[in-house]
Amino acid sequence: MRYGKGQHRMNRATSVFLALTALVVLSGCSSSGGGSPPEIIGTPAARLASATTTSSATSLVLSTATILEAGSSDAAAQVALGDATVRARLRSMALVASSGAGVSSPTTILAVAASDHQAAQTIISGATIADHAPVYVVEMTGGPFTANQYPPGGQAPQGDVLTLTIDAQTYQVRDVGFHPVAPDLTQIGSVMTL
C-alpha cells in the first residue's frame, strides 16, 4: 500500500524534488546576510505575534492544527474485550508489532480495556495525553524489543516490555511504548491473556 496524502503529490514528487535540487545549485548552499546578536523577544505569545507580522522577505502566517475528534469516555471497550473476535484481532496486532520489534514469539501477551486514553497512558507511559477515547492496552514481555526511530546520532531505543495502546473504535495504534519494567495493567482494569 502506498502511503502519502494524495496520489497527485506522489506523481509530481520527483519533479518537485528536482526543482529543490535546482534551487540548491543556484544558491550554492550558502546563506545570505551577516550575523547579528540574538534578540530577546520575551514570551512565546509575544514572539508569535511579532513573527506573524515581520520577516526579512515576506510575511509569515501561522496556521493552527485542528482537533478532529477528541474522543469521549466509553465503557464499551471493556465489554468488547470479552469478545473472542476482538481478542484475536488484538493478538494479531500484537504479534505483528512484536515481530517488527525483533521478537517473533513474546513470552506473554496481556490486554486490558480502558475507558479513557489519557488515564491509561498516565499509567503506561507516564505521559499526559490530550485524548479521552476508549482504548485497549496490549502488553508483551520477552524482549528486548527495539524501536524504529531515534534522533540523529542516536541508537534505537530498546525495552524488555512492549506496549501498544489501540483505539477501541478504529483499531489505530495510538501509542507505542518500550519499557524497562512492565507497567501494572491492573491499575487500569481487568487483565486478560491473549
Binding site: M10, A101, G102, D131, N148, P157, R174, V176
Partner: protein
Amino acid sequence: MTLPMRMVSAVAVTAAVLTANTVRAQPHDYAILETPNIPSDANSGESIWINTYLLSVEYCNSTNDNFVNHEMWYITCTSSSCINNGSPKYWVEVGIKSGATSGSGCVYDTIFWADSRPGGGYNEHYYPNVGWNTGSPSNPAWYDMGITNSASCTWSVVFGGVNLGISTSNCAGSGRILEAGIEHKVNVQEADYALGNLTNWVEEESPSGGPWLDQWDGVGNGNGIAIQWNSGLTPEALMTFVSNTETEEGLGQD
C-alpha cells in the same frame, strides 16, 4: 552538483533490499538543522515553525518499515551519564510521520510526539485525530512546534496550537542539543519523498519562563546544517538556507 544523476542511479541499487529481520538495526538518514552542544543553553525549551509539503513512502506493511519524518528533537541531557556509546539517551521529539511506526502500524501525514526519559523507557504517541494542511514552497502552511519546560521535570509538547501532551518525570541533566529536519528509515529501496521548510527557530533560556532568544545558537549564517547519510543506500537529501532564518529541505529516493 550531480544529485539528479545520482537519483537516477539509485534505481539500480534495488539489490540492496534488506530483510525485515534486520530493519531495526539499520541506520537512518537525516537532513537536519542542529545546534552544537553548548552548556547552559536553551535549558527551558525550543520552538520552530514547520511547513511540510510532502511526506510519502511508497510501501508500508508488516515487512517494510520505511518511514519519513519531518520533525524537531530536544535532547534533554548531554552529560556523560546521559550518553551511551556516543548516543543521547534522553530526549523529547515532535513532528509529522508517513510510514511505519515502532508498533509496525502504518500512518500517513500523522502528527506524533515521543520521549525517552530516565527510567521511563521510550514512548511514541500518534494523533490521527489532529488535522493539519500541507503547504507548498510558494504557499507555505506554517505550524509552530514547541517543547517547553512547564514544571519541574515536565515538558509540554505543542503542534499548531494544539497541546499534544506532557512528558512527565523527565528530569533533564545538563546540556541540550536542538535539532529539526528530516529523518528517513530505509528498509526497502523504494520511492520515498519529503519536502518542507523550517523557520523561526527559537530557544528558551533558563529558568522556565525565562527569555526566548530569536535563534538557535550556532544555527544560521550558513551554519548548522548536517546531512547524515548512514543507510548505505542512495537516497538524496538536501537542506539549504533560503535566508538566514529559513531552510528548505527535501529527500528523494527512487
